[in-house]
Subunit: 267 residues, 4 copies
């Protein structure tokens, strides 16, 4: 191939690529709520190859406020190319008997993150995500990370509410962190065909397992949580609305991604 | 496959798919400027399989203000799912001796259009596109389509100017329409791998020719034009900046897409 | 005053002013739905000086897709400075026995239009507005203006749905146009104080009547309509939700504004 | 007055007001660069009542990533109503012999912050602002606050670059903080008239001095800086482009605002 570039657009230098080549370094603040959806609904979104988790309906929602960069880190000082926020749901499942999670619905607010997600198997759409921040000074405008601090997040897409959640901190230093988001994540990489007669025969359709390295994590604050998932035209995530809500978590997390494991092609 | 959906996210019903299944019906207003870039620059962005056009450096820029829908047309009354605007550059080339165009750079302002473009081989990024409109009434705020009417368009991405263009109408009914955008378009469908060691070995990388049907077109207004392409971090389209500017065109166009022809896989 | 500029920011030349000096020329496409709200709710939003309309609860919603410019029209070829969309509600009322309308709630998608609205007495917030378009060619993606054509509009703010409406055209040439939006509009210009102890004593608070000239209007298409107003945090427009829905209208309209009449100061 | 609300829209409850009533509590991260503009340019933007600073051309640019709320703090858990980012320039000046600053140009990314700024005398337009963050964990994606950490910010409006700046930290604990942004700020509250013949006779036009309380500030990191101000249609801030660049600063700051002092009406 004459032209270069990890993603499109491809040029002589590769510099215009929407997604820079791996490795991708990430750091971000997280709000997570462990919860349970209606078991049949949770089962209904599992891709071929995954079986329902024995703790039926086990799910989590994750809101992340990210800063990311590629090797060299030039995006860090040009933050329109490094910042993005995302909201997603994970459903717990079994892969060959092993506990895993899978992401059926996710929204993100930047194009490079949307494309990077498709490459990793995250079914990303664009949305608008907001999440409470903390600044480390005493202020009525800063909820802080001590007991009593109230944090919230919202996700919308096309001007419709997708979800909102809150966490009221009870412990500033939880021993464990979120349980429903802990297992490794397994998704489906999917790239459709447009050739007539082959619209139902995607060119890429494979179960993949995320691989990461150099993981860092802050202390975890945890507390009571609320969660709502809302219906909207052209959306189906609300089938996973909570029937029981667990604990909420707030922490900071970072890692590096430059690999992906193909579990199996699905046909 | 148990789950349904032309694109991700995939569910039992397929209704949450970011891109609805073909056919896709389009109608939109266009501003086009025929121009010539520096010949070596135009040549430098051609994918394998295309040779330079004998009229060296021949290019066009296209700004389109679209309304689109899938079968049934539900998106039409929910226009956040049918409206989008895009700006792109085409470079003229030869494919096995036949005149074609190819699109090295394109920006679009909606996620469904970005994903639909990747599926068709358009190397779309998100941008913000603005284009003068006309309303069919006499008003100082309406430039109209008669001689003297001045139309403009701009494209930006990440808060940086990518391009601007203007067309001052001299003829309200041109016989031909744009010449540099007339040949069939040939692009590259590209879907990268993330598996370690295979970042330079895309899973999908093939030359494709656009196929369409049921084309409709209004009268074409034409006139003198201006065009600027601007440099920006992480962008390279400005290597195709104009060395000579031809005529500008303003018209309305519609068509339907539900097919794509693979010319050859590139390795 | 040394510095110049109709609005802020003010400079030696006045060129940076967010709102250029009047006259302001406008042209746009409109979707309007005549309807009735709960009478007590309609009465509850009337400013001092207006009395309830005898046809209790009479209201309209208006969605407008505008192109506007100041004298000289430079914004027309730089459409990021001339395009905006807005959605608003008008309540019918009496001013000294004369039929008038007043606008209690309005959203607009550009800063210059928000500021221009405040100067005119429109209580504008930012929102995202979408409205079906028509292009004048035969296409499954173009509803057209003949009987059977279906048009829709939505308004959201901060990622929450504010309103949606549809109009299905039954007549392509209605004799009259919207009735509930026909009377002259009377609003309140309001500019608060921040000085301690005077937060409830606005510096500007006066009833004003809109003045316009050079009005142009297309034929009016009309038909059956739907309308929903939705609740959201920090919003109250949904108290004006419809109890009865009248006819919907689609037309193009233009005018020029460079005057405003103060009816009385309110204290 | 029957209707309530600090700003428009005004209702029976006041809950729909775009700007909630003071006090307003703020906390945010800051990047500041002390610099000097061309002295005549700096002088040219001073409102009546201010004289040039003896250190001719003394200016600063400020980028702030804010979280704010009103009394009760409900906006904190609904962060689309509490987050905003802004970029502004201050010019140093003298008011009756006292050192002050004044803000000739400012962009902000939320409507409530734009309106709140107009009330305080800040000449706000909408823009898009990005600023590097730090997360307190070791990561290649986190520049941190120790020597060597590189931070950047950009501001754009209408898809055009307004400004960019960088700070490379040399000291994680500077004794003083920014000097050019230290004096009290004096701005002009301005609200135009639209009545014919009075477009040059604003209804409100007064020099005001900001008042705040309960100020908190983190340690200040400082280092070398870069700064660019770019020209764009309808903008004039680039007349204040740097002729000499001082030091850059990064810190966190919070305060409360519920008062404003009128210095004098300008006629």
């Amino acid at each position: 191939m004459t032209l270069r570039g990890y993603s499109v657009p491809r040029t002589q230098t590769g510099r215009a690529s929407l997604v820079p080549p791996p490795p991708w370094h990430y750091v971000g603040d997280f709000l997570v709520v462990d919860y349970w959806a209606e078991p049949d609904a949770a089962k209904s979104v599992l891709p071929d190859g995954l079986l329902p988790h024995p703790d039926a309906g086990r799910c989590a929602v994750v809101c992340a406020d990210w800063q990311s960069c590629s090797e060299g880190g030039d995006e860090i000082v040009d933050p329109s190319r490094s910042h993005y926020k995302e909201f997603f749901i994970v459903v717990n499942a079994l892969l060959d008997g092993e506990e895993v999670t899978t992401c059926p619905f996710i929204w993100v607010d930047q194009d490079f993150a949307l494309a990077r997600g498709w490459i990793q198997g995250f079914p990303k759409k664009l949305g608008e995500i907001w999440m409470t921040r903390t600044f480390g000074v005493e202020s009525p405008a800063d909820p802080g990370l001590a007991p009593g601090g109230r944090h919230g997040a919202t996700c919308s897409a096309r001007g419709r509410a997708m979800a909102d959640l809150t966490v009221e901190i009870e412990s500033g230093n939880d021993d464990e962190g979120p349980r429903h988001n802990a297992p490794p994540i397994v998704n489906v990489r999917h790239f459709p065909r447009l050739a007539a007669g082959r619209h139902d025969d995607p060119q890429v359709h494979e179960l993949v397992r995320a691989v990461s390295r150099d993981r860092v994590m802050s202390k975890v604050a945890s507390g009571s949580a609320t969660l709502n998932l809302y219906p909207a035209p052209g959306e189906e995530h609300d089938i996973l609305a909570p029937v029981k809500i667990g604990r909420g978590y707030r922490f900071t997390f970072g890692y590096t991604v430059d690999d992906l494991e193909t579990v199996k092609e699905i046909r």
